[in-house]
């Protein structure tokens, strides 16, 4: 197989540049071009991939691969089957899509549409039913899964990962203990295309049966080849080339072509698949003449993206009013030779702190170096591509892991040339249905090394309700769950259920798990969840058997203008970041805002308040992390759905300048009062003047409606807020805590306290708003 380059050249003319190790890159002219939605210069795009036949053929975790100039194959990593092979559209249809013949750009990650996913374009040549790609130990292809989502049992078949070697992809998996390498490819000549599966097997440990295709008509074996009568003078033909004794084709159920491999068989051979006019069958022999050859994956391939993109950072692009925090921009490579969209979904630092890896929603990983005080020479290198909406990234021992819709992937740069060679499946037990809202958000580890991520619920295209099939997706086993994956990747368990769209989680130094969420059905406002193992976090459609009445009140709620769509959390582990060490920070994706979360434990009930740290970011606030080297906070974010984020992607440093922070830093609810602690001592007359304070409170209603009206705490039948009657304000002896006596203080889902121009001892004025939730009153 050779990816070359008619398709690519056509794109270059259109102003889109493709570069690969094998060809001299054309000069970029991306300035005025649109971002490329589907890349042609890398062999893999992973998504739910639909195909025309057999009916209902969708690879929920489909690697759509460019296996020739106009030849494409899709591999389903849940079921270890090639779901389809197809060729580019006839000339007459060219120009209808942005990449003729490959896959359509439908889907939220691509053209933004809610509902739908890429479909194989062009002319499909073969396909398989959505079911196991390898038979069980008894030779049966019956689907053993409880629901048609998620992988086959590990004892049956395990997806190990794939190698990228130049433009070739080698798939690696284990079936009944037998390691199998399976390389898709094609032979294109004389107007005909044959698809290849180059299979290497060291020594089968059992009798194995692989699904090759489900014929469109009756299949039979003729001289070792399988021939399918597709009708109208069209046939499909499958042959083995170089097959060892013990490997043979067979027909099952009348039209299914399978490959039988006897126990102890070893060898390297091609499965050649062709479909065409019976009259052209004579051309098949030439197509089948190609000798089996597997890419030399063990040594790693040449880097796919030898060029780097160099940007210059911006120091102090904005600052807080007290000048205690400033933002420095780590300028993203949004102008790049590959015209890739740079929408950051995950970020973490290598141990040196000068380099970070960032994954994008579009499935790329970038590594940026040069993160120093001045940010003058930021060098961005593409490290990997083809991921399935990689919205989480974690680095452990300087090895990159991402969370995607398909799996946790661990990346290996075998030859240490700066690009990933082996994309290892660390754990792929997570379920993924064809819906568009199947996001898998964020990736963290706890102090024991276990991984955590969160999967969204399959929100319907319109925004309300869940699942229902089709483009809306299905409520699969892990929909709306916080998931824990063991340190070695061997085990995935549901840690909590009932989240809707938790675009960001946090794991504290002591292992405390937190999540945000996005208002919607059963999420009346954005919460910050304080997650305990086994807790149900509120979305009743996604309780997965947990008692709906066991709903665990969040740490706090955030009203719409504070947070209409939650991002991630992080804990201040640094002592170089002002006075907040040990505190929790929460990001609002929708409002691109950062909040200090002020926790309080009342008995065994947790509650909190929030105050804004008013910094400005390049994109959304979504993936906050502290840098181990400089101890400063960094945030990466994207704009992919409703947000006020300025740019599609951004990476910023929120740096503490050493100047005094002027802010509330603590909140405590008592029987008759709420106390606010400040970072600075206040001037008594100002702090104790009740005219400087006001407040209000309200509740939300948890229903299947989208979000909630704000309703009176005093009279639940009434919409609106109750004004608080603040009786007095008393300043503590150290001048740093104001205790507000509030009449009729009671639990409220939301309470807002405002103060205007409080005088600090140093003469400065503090104006802030504090939003909090009272779950319990001491």
């Amino acid at each position: 197989m050779k990816i070359t380059l008619k398709v690519v050249a056509a794109l270059a003319v259109a102003g889109i540049v493709a570069a690969s190790a094998q060809t001299a890159p054309a000069k970029p002219s991306w300035k005025d071009s649109k971002s490329k939605l589907i890349q042609a210069d890398f062999p893999i795009t992973t998504a739910c991939i639909g195909a025309k036949f057999p009916a209902g053929n969708k690879a929920n975790k489909g690697m759509a691969m460019i296996v020739g100039e106009g030849a494409f194959m899709s591999f389903d990593t849940d079921l270890l089957r090639f779901s389809a092979g197809w060729v580019a559209a006839a000339a007459a249809e060219k120009g209808k899509t942005n990449l003729v013949g490959f896959i359509s750009d439908k889907g939220v990650t691509f053209n933004g549409s809610h509902g739908g996913h890429p479909e194989a374009l062009g002319e499909q040549k073969f396909g398989t039913k959505s079911g196991p790609g390898w038979a069980d130990a008894a030779g049966s292809f019956a689907d053993p899964r409880k629901e048609p989502f998620g992988p086959l049992p590990k004892s049956w078949a395990r997806w190990d990962g794939h190698y990228v070697v130049g433009d070739k992809v080698v798939l690696a998996y284990t079936v009944h203990g037998t390691k199998i390498y399976d390389q898709p490819g094609s032979v294109e000549q004389d107007g005909q295309t044959a698809f290849l599966r180059t299979i290497k097997i060291d020594a089968a440990k059992a009798d194995l049966t692989a699904l090759i295709l489900d014929g469109e008509g009756a299949a039979k074996i003729e001289n070792g080849a399988a021939v399918v009568d597709c009708g109208n003078g069209v046939i499909a033909r499958v042959e083995l080339v170089g097959a060892p004794k013990g490997a043979a084709l067979a027909v099952a159920d009348g039209n299914r072509v399978v490959l039988k491999i006897a126990n102890a068989t070893a060898g390297l051979f091609n499965v050649v698949i062709w479909k065409g006019a019976k009259a052209d069958e004579a051309k098949f022999a030439a197509l089948a003449a190609v000798k089996p050859a597997l890419a030399d994956f063990a040594k790693g391939g040449k880097p796919h993206w030898p060029e780097t993109v160099v940007t210059k950072g911006v120091i102090e692009s904005s600052k807080t009013p007290d000048s205690a925090f400033v933002t420095d921009v780590i300028t993203a490579p949004d102008k790049n030779p590959w015209n890739r969209r740079v929408r950051f979904g995950g970020m973490d630092f290598f141990s040196d702190g000068k380099r970070a890896a960032l994954s994008t929603w579009d499935g790329d990983i970038w590594i940026v170096s040069g993160i120093d005080e001045k940010l003058e020479n930021l060098e961005w290198r593409r490290f990997a591509s083809g991921g399935f909406e990689t919205l989480g990234l974690k680095i452990v021992n300087d090895v990159v892991y991402t969370s995607g819709r398909d799996q946790i992937t661990r990346y290996h740069d075998i030859n240490e040339d700066g690009a990933a060679d082996y994309y290892e499946n660390f754990n792929n037990e997570i379920t993924s249905s064809p819906g568009f809202h199947e996001f898998v958000f964020d990736l963290h580890t706890d102090k024991e090394g276990n991984f955590y991520t969160a999967k969204a619920g399959p929100v319907k295209g319109g925004g309300r309700g869940f699942g229902g099939g089709g483009g809306n997706g299905d409520i699969s086993a892990h929909a709306g769950c916080v998931l824990k994956i063991s340190k070695d990747g061997s085990k995935l368990e549901v840690y909590a259920t009932g989240v809707r769209a938790p675009n960001g989680i946090g794991v504290g130094p002591d292992g405390q798990v937190t999540t945000g969420d996005n208002e919607g059905s059963w999420v009346p406002a954005c919460p910050v969840n304080w997650v305990k193992p086994g807790s149900f976090l509120g979305v009743e459609d996604l309780n997965h058997g947990l008692d709906k009445k066991s709903f665990q009140q969040p740490l706090m709620w955030l009203s719409k203008s504070w947070d209409n769509s939650g991002g991630g959390q992080t804990w201040v582990t640094s002592d170089k970041w002002g006075p907040f060490k040990g505190e929790l920070l929460h990001c609002s994706y929708g409002q691109s805002s950062l909040y200090l979360i002020m926790k309080q434990e009342v008995g065994n009930v947790m509650q909190a308040g929030a105050v804004k740290i008013p910094i400005k970011l390049t994109s959304s606030a979504m993936r906050p992390r502290f840098n181990p080297r400089d101890g400063q906070l960094y945030n990466a974010g994207l704009r992919g759905w409703q947000s006020n984020a300025a740019k599609e992607g951004g990476f910023d440093r929120v740096r503490y300048t050493g100047k005094p922070v002027q802010s509330v830093s603590g909140l405590k609810v008592d029987r008759y009062s709420v106390s606010l602690s400040f970072t600075q001592p206040l001037e008594k007359s100002s702090a104790e003047d009740v005219q400087n304070y006001n407040g209000e409170r309200w509740n939300y209603m948890r229903t299947s409606n989208y979000g909630s009206p704000e309703i009176s705490v005093n009279d639940p039948a009434k919409k609106g807020h109750d004004k608080l009657d603040i009786k007095s304000a008393k300043l503590s002896a150290d001048g740093k805590t104001v205790t507000l006596e509030i009449a009729d203080l009671k639990p409220a889902m939301q309470q807002l306290l405002n103060f205007n121009k409080l005088k600090a001892k140093d003469g400065s004025e503090i104006t802030q708003r504090v939003l909090h939730t009272i779950n319990a009153i001491p």
Binding site: G462, K560, N564, K647, E648, N692, N705, N754
Partner: protein, 674 residues
């Protein structure tokens, strides 16, 4: 624009801030809005106003009780601050203004179609702060005043209206008298008193003076005899709020009603061919509308529910609410098929009907009719008497009893004569039609006025009644909003803007066309509810709503469109380097790309709909206007945009560029979708 300004600054400097900030010791005012007293020469009139907004077109009267010409207006009340804080004031005006807060002058100046400089910063106390504003009309042109404030005077963001919810006043004898006079005048108008007690028509007079009543032309084909008879005999017994009086009294009343109804039933002339207002575009024509959450939520609702008929009516089978109009009589009132015709064009035979025109299609009208009638018992109704004697008696009664003062009937002369208005001395406005009880043998129509109503009518009678010859559109709008029960839906039902804001939000021309029933694009086609038409009231209602907010009834000409700004606006609306407005908002023929729960209004409609000032406030911070909106806030308090590359990241410039782009309407070029 010319401004002259006395130095308020020097004045303020003499007052320690703390003094200004002292809270008044009086009890907190309880009534919403402000008291406002208008004076012209010796004439004085006190009303209440929602805000310090005023607009009087040249030649108009500021209120019906003040002659046209120069006037002053003085607002009194308090502004309630949420928190002790610093504020600054400014005014857009044509005229002169003086603003006093807590007894100190904070803004004083005159302007000709301009805006005053912003006042110095004023510290307001938490709670009530005494507010007094005096406006003097200009020598020429429309008089107007819009007082604005900023609660962030140190930030470069525009001033905005003071939220009306933060204004209050203490009712006084003057406000009570103003309210009583208005009630008396309204009762006089709504009961069509001037149809019998005639008064010279005036082009500048109250629009209601020409209000009609259901036409008798062909009424026999549209109403059942049995219902007509019952209604004529005692309208008030049929409907508590009926304005039609009981005309026939005594023992002959049933026979009179019978004869009158019989005669009316004989009037079966066929009118001109039926024509209807053009329906709105079908929801199905809107991309994704059927899949939208709003549509999902409406699933299973009947058309009656979707149209919110129950805002005004007790639907058959539902619990009765005394304030609403029962529909239990429909099978007795409408002959077969006539309800459908009525529903499709309620104003056809009665231009001033309060029943709105929902612009129903024939299918929808049939559906509504079916849903209403299927729960009602069907009667075998008696036919109308056809005895010529009875019909002749009926015809005579129709001609003589005053029916034709209000109801039209071609070719029959109204023989009823009574005293014209000028001859009705105020002292006698307690007998006849206005008697507490009908006098024995009285032939006066009986209206069921309350004690309060009669007092108000007497008070009105004691004025010079010149107010009938004057028309203040703001007051007309306020009356119509009430009698049409606009607040039955607006501010009640999700998706309906509060009626109090629409005049400041919508361009009067658009409101007029909406109320006239000529617009075919619904801004929110995903809602199953629709705004019905009130064609006869459209013009003045639209004008009055805008003028209530101090805005002209005719949108001022805007500066020429700037092609460069249009380009910037197009970029800002797109995904690539813009705010991605296209995610939620369609742009002309281009559907939104990512509607999620909250579809937005097609941007091609925006410039035709929205007051430019409202648009600017909305875009700058939508959540400040509607805390529940799903529209994000993009611009910050420093007047900066997050998109620094466009127009230097200046919020005001970007907002202006978007407006230029929006002004292209249906011709807006599509923004980038990727």
């Amino acid at each position: 624009m010319k401004m002259k300004f006395r130095s308020v600054i020097a004045f303020l400097a003499a007052w320690p801030i703390a003094l200004l900030a002292q809270a008044p010791a009086k009890p907190a005012p309880v009534a919403a809005g402000l008291a406002v007293t208008f004076k012209a020469g010796a004439a004085s009139d006190t009303a209440t106003a929602p805000n310090v907004w005023l607009h009087v077109a040249a030649g108009q009267s500021v209120t019906p009780f003040i002659p046209a010409g120069p006037f002053t207006a003085e607002w009194q009340g308090v502004v309630n601050a949420d928190l002790r804080g610093d504020y600054a004031f400014e005014a857009e005006l044509n005229g002169a203004v003086k603003v006093e807060l807590n007894g100190a002058i904070v803004l004083e100046g005159a302007g000709k179609n301009g805006v005053t400089p912003r006042s110095k910063t004023i510290r307001l106390s938490k709670g009530a702060n005494a507010l007094k504003v005096i406006f003097t009309s200009p020598a020429q042109g429309d008089a107007y005043l819009r007082l604005h404030w900023s609660d962030k005077p140190d930030k470069p963001v525009p001033a905005e209206p003071i939220p009306s919810t933060q204004l209050a006043h203490t009712p006084s004898g003057e406000t009570a008298r103003g309210a009583q006079l208005r009630l008396g005048r309204e009762l006089f108008l709504e009961h069509r008193c001037a149809k019998c007690h005639t008064t010279p028509a005036s082009a500048q007079g109250a629009p209601e003076l020409v209000m009609d009543a259901p036409s008798f032309d062909g009424i026999g084909t549209r109403r059942h005899f049995a219902w007509l008879k019952e209604w004529i005999l005692d309208p008030h017994a049929q409907r508590a709020g009926a304005q039609m009086p009981k005309v026939f009294h005594g023992t002959s009343a049933p026979a009179d009603a019978d004869a009158t109804a019989a005669y009316l039933s004989s009037l079966n002339a066929v009118g001109p061919a039926l024509t209807f207002l053009k329906p709105y575009k079908l929801v199905a024509a809107v991309a994704n509308a059927a899949e939208s959450p709003a549509a999902q939520q409406e699933e299973g609702k009947t058309l009656l529910e979707k149209l919110h008929c129950n805002a005004c009516h007790n639907l058959p089978g539902a619990a009765a609410d005394a304030k609403k109009i029962s529909l239990d009589h429909l099978t007795r009132k409408f002959p077969g098929g006539k309800l459908v015709e009525f529903l499709r064009a309620p104003e056809r035979h009665y231009a001033w009907t309060r029943m709105p025109d929902f612009r129903l299609t024939a299918e929808e009208a049939n559906e509504v009719s079916k849903l209403l009638l299927e729960k009602l018992p069907m009667f075998k109704l008696p036919g109308a008497p056809t005895d010529p004697t009875i019909l002749a008696r009926g015809k005579k009664l129709v001609a003589s009893a005053g029916c034709l003062s209000c109801h039209a009937l071609p070719n029959v002369k109204n023989e009823f004569v009574t005293q014209p208005l000028t001859q009705l001395v105020a002292a006698k406005w307690n007998g006849g039609c206005l008697g507490e009880k009908p006098a024995a043998g009285s032939k006066s129509p009986q209206f069921h006025f309350t004690v309060e109503d009669r007092a108000a009518l007497s008070a009105f009678a004691a004025t010079d009644r010149k107010s009938l010859e004057r028309h203040a559109p703001t007051e007309f709008a306020a009356r119509q909003v009430r009698v049409l029960n606009c607040a039955g839906c607006h501010g009640q039902v999700d998706g309906f803007p509060a009626i109090e804001i629409v005049g400041g939000k919508l361009k009067p021309e658009w409101t007029r066309d909406l109320l006239s029933g000529v617009l075919v694009d619904r801004p929110r086609p995903w809602l199953s509810a629709r705004m019905p038409a009130f064609p006869r009231r459209a013009e003045w209602l639209a004008a009055g709503l805008a003028q209530t907010h101090g805005l002209s009834p005719r949108s001022p000409t805007e500066p020429p469109m700037d092609a460069g700004l249009v380009k910037h606006g197009q970029k800002l609306a797109g995904v690539d380097g813009g705010f991605s407005c296209i995610s939620c908002h369609g742009v002309a023929g281009l559907a939104p790309t990512q509607v999620f729960e909250a579809p937005g209004i097609n941007l091609a409609l925006s410039a035709a709909r929205l007051q430019p000032a409202y648009y600017r406030r909305w875009i700058l911070n939508p959540q400040r206007i509607d805390p529940q909106t799903k529209m994000p806030v993009y611009f910050d308090e420093e007047g900066k945009s997050p998109l620094a590359e466009v127009l230097g990241g200046d919020a005001a410039k970007q907002i202006d560029a978007l407006w230029h782009y929006l002004r292209l309407g249906e011709k807006m070029p599509p923004p980038a979708t990727q």
